[in-house]
């Protein structure tokens, strides 16, 4: 084996310029893959994070069945106490109780159907970015205040401004009519048309009184420190809920199935580009290997005459491919990791993104994901593809006859 390895190594450097070029092609491909996949995964992280932080949270505890059919009666009793308990169990402050209902809102001129959310003004800003996007007026002040905050598009549609009053009309938990007149103290602009057009926030207790909820609510929203900590937080929550079969803990993937689909769609689209890249690299390598095998026909003939089985020579060729590919992939991985690390530290931003990000309370740059997946998928696919490419010239050697091979020059 040692002699074979030595031969492989020297054969690679026999045409050093050709080998260096091939090596660089492999390395370049790997750098592209590592960087692109890093940024792609990083941008998904940002996307998930932004969406999750906007409103849904990483985890929600709900009454079973509420997610599929959000009826006002499918509620959690003593929701504020549950939120307080979960704060203790998880050790996180970022836990907030909510209640949700539907109502018709009217200003002097118009009416719209909206979603009313009762929130705890103290904790809501910790689990949701919406309170932070209030552009006019202020957010809710206390759990009992008689005031509302509305989305910017809704405010425009209703033609209202700060200080104007809204009329709410819905039906309470017990089926009674829920109606009130409430002043608007703030208008938020989350950047999401859904929220800005259809959302009204009320203090939790005000909501509970209006909809005759008692101490009931519909969800406790929990924001984990980050995605990595999520499984740990989830475990604690599930452990706390224990045998309480009426409540379930749902994670963001269940709460926001759309985002997962969106990511999968984006991955499917990028596959095409990655496959094209890998195919191009593979063909450039196949070309090199094929040339290096064809020009050595006579040499292989001699080796066969000496009694080397074609299988052995095939192994030599595969070994050359492997060493070369490993070198290229290694260089590519080192470079790619360095580039990704740079952007992980300093952030990767597209011009114009900062403005946009500030406006919607989002991070102003993407950091490449520093995960095993990012650093392993590109290199291993390239390594695998080059080995498959090398298989063809290696197998061709079986077809060589020593006599014919030695005729070749």
């Amino acid at each position: 084996m040692d002699l074979l390895l030595r031969m492989a190594w020297r054969n690679i450097w026999r045409h050093s310029r050709r080998s260096v070029l091939t090596l660089l092609a492999i390395a370049f491909g790997v750098v592209l893959l590592v960087f692109n996949i890093g940024i792609q995964q990083g941008s998904y992280d940002v996307m998930i994070d932004n969406t999750v932080r906007m409103f849904a949270g990483h985890i929600q505890v709900q009454r079973k069945g509420y997610l599929d059919t959000p009826r006002i009666r499918t509620s959690i009793p003593n929701v504020s106490k549950l939120a307080a308990d979960l704060r203790k169990t998880t050790g996180l402050e970022t836990v907030s109780a909510r209640a949700t209902g539907f109502a018709l809102v009217s200003s002097r001129s118009r009416s719209y159907g909206v979603i009313i959310t009762g929130v705890d003004p103290k904790y809501e800003p910790m689990v949701s970015s919406i309170p932070g996007t209030v552009r006019q007026g202020r957010y809710l002040s206390s759990p009992t205040a008689n005031e509302a905050v509305v989305g910017s598009s809704l405010a425009k549609n209703l033609k209202i401004k700060i200080g104007d009053e809204l009329t709410l009309l819905g039906s309470g938990r017990d089926g009674s009519v829920a109606a009130t007149v409430i002043p608007v103290v703030g208008i938020f602009n989350s950047g999401s048309t859904d929220f800005d057009r259809h959302m009204v926030h009320l203090p939790l207790q005000t909501f509970q009184e209006l909809f005759t909820m008692g101490d009931h609510g519909h969800a406790v929203v929990i924001l984990s420190k980050n995605l990595e900590q999520l499984p740990d937080t989830m475990a604690k929550v599930k452990n706390y809920l224990g045998q309480d079969s009426k409540l379930v803990a749902l994670d963001w993937e269940q709460l926001l199935p759309g985002i997962k689909e969106l990511i999968e769609l984006d991955i499917a689209a990028s596959w095409f580009i990655y496959i094209t890249l890998v195919v191009i690299i593979t063909f450039s390598i196949l070309n090199t290997f094929l040339m290096s095998v064809l020009e050595r026909t006579r040499e292989f003939g001699i080796m066969m005459a000496l009694g080397a089985a074609p299988f052995r020579i095939g192994i030599l060729v595969m070994l050359e491919a492997f060493v070369m590919s490993l070198l290229g992939v290694g260089i590519g991985l080192l470079l790619g990791a360095a580039i990704n690390y740079y952007f992980y530290v300093y952030g990767f931003s597209v011009p114009g993104m900062e403005e946009f990000a500030k406006q919607f309370n989002m991070p102003d740059s993407i950091r490449p994901q520093m995960s095993f997946f990012v650093f392993s998928i590109g290199p291993s696919v390239v390594l695998g593809a080059t080995m498959i490419a090398a298989l063809y010239p290696a197998l061709r050697i079986r077809l060589l006859k020593p006599v014919d091979a030695m005729h070749a020059v």
Binding site: D2, L3, L4, R6, M7, R10, N11, R14, R298, E299, I302, M303, M304, A305, L306, G307, A308, A309, R312, K401, P402, V403, M406
Partner: protein, 229 residues
């Protein structure tokens, strides 16, 4: 009498379009163990073809070949390769050596294929290179050796694992007469010392003068067979 090579009614036909060329035509041949046999004949007379058949590099069209008592013509490709590895040594006209390996490593290569351990390999390679007069040049690559030195390495490589037969196809064709003579003297000495059988094809009168037996080939048939000393 022990024979290293026995050929019976050996024929090799090549078809080119409608024309059939008999490169070998019903050749009967016996070569004794320890022989130093020279195969001469004009270009196209079938010398290379005969060596290749005996060496198991190609299958004959008909007839039998026995090397060391074993039927070569009926062997599978893999068995032929195994026989070449264990029992035969080859020396070709030129570019015999693996260019990326040093003289020492070229000699080692065959023993490596045989699965010999590293220490034995190194010792044997050093000894045989010394025997062919290449002491001190073990680490040189083929490109750093003269044509004659390269042929010596090729002979050393063919000899190193003690084969019963060495087939040399015009080994001196690319050498000047002085170098050729030195190579021949060396091969004769190896033949005398180790008793290895040599079968050498050539056009060269000088080579013929070293032969213990001289076989003349013409149009694929043996036309002359002369034993000396």
């Amino acid at each position: 009498m022990e024979y290293t090579v026995v050929c019976k009614q050996l024929s090799k036909l090549y078809h080119q379009g409608d024309v059939t060329i008999a490169a070998l035509n019903k050749v009967d041949l016996q070569i004794q163990k320890g022989g130093f046999v020279c195969l001469s004949g004009p270009s196209g007379s079938g010398k290379t073809t005969l060596l290749n058949m005996i060496g198991g590099l190609d299958h004959p069209t008909s007839g039998e070949i026995h090397v060391d008592g074993k039927r070569v013509d009926q062997m599978s490709k893999a068995d032929m390769a195994e026989m070449r590895l264990r029992q035969l040594g080859f020396v070709f006209q030129a570019y015999n050596l693996i260019p990326v390996l040093s003289a020492h490593e070229n000699v080692e290569f065959v023993m490596q294929l045989q699965g010999m351990d590293k220490k034995t390999r190194a010792d044997k390679a050093r000894a045989i290179l010394k025997e062919v007069g290449l002491e001190g040049m073990e680490r040189r690559r083929p490109a750093e050796l003269s044509g004659g030195q390269q042929q010596r390495v090729a002979v050393a490589r063919a000899m190193v694992s003690g084969p019963s037969l060495i087939l040399a196809d015009e080994p001196t064709a690319n050498l000047d007469s002085v170098t050729a003579e030195m190579l021949l003297q060396m091969m004769r000495r190896l033949n005398d010392v180790h008793g290895t059988t040599f079968l050498i094809s050539t056009h060269d009168k000088l080579v013929m003068s070293y032969a213990k037996r001289l076989i003349g080939l013409h149009d694929g048939e043996i036309v002359d067979d002369e034993r000396r000393n």
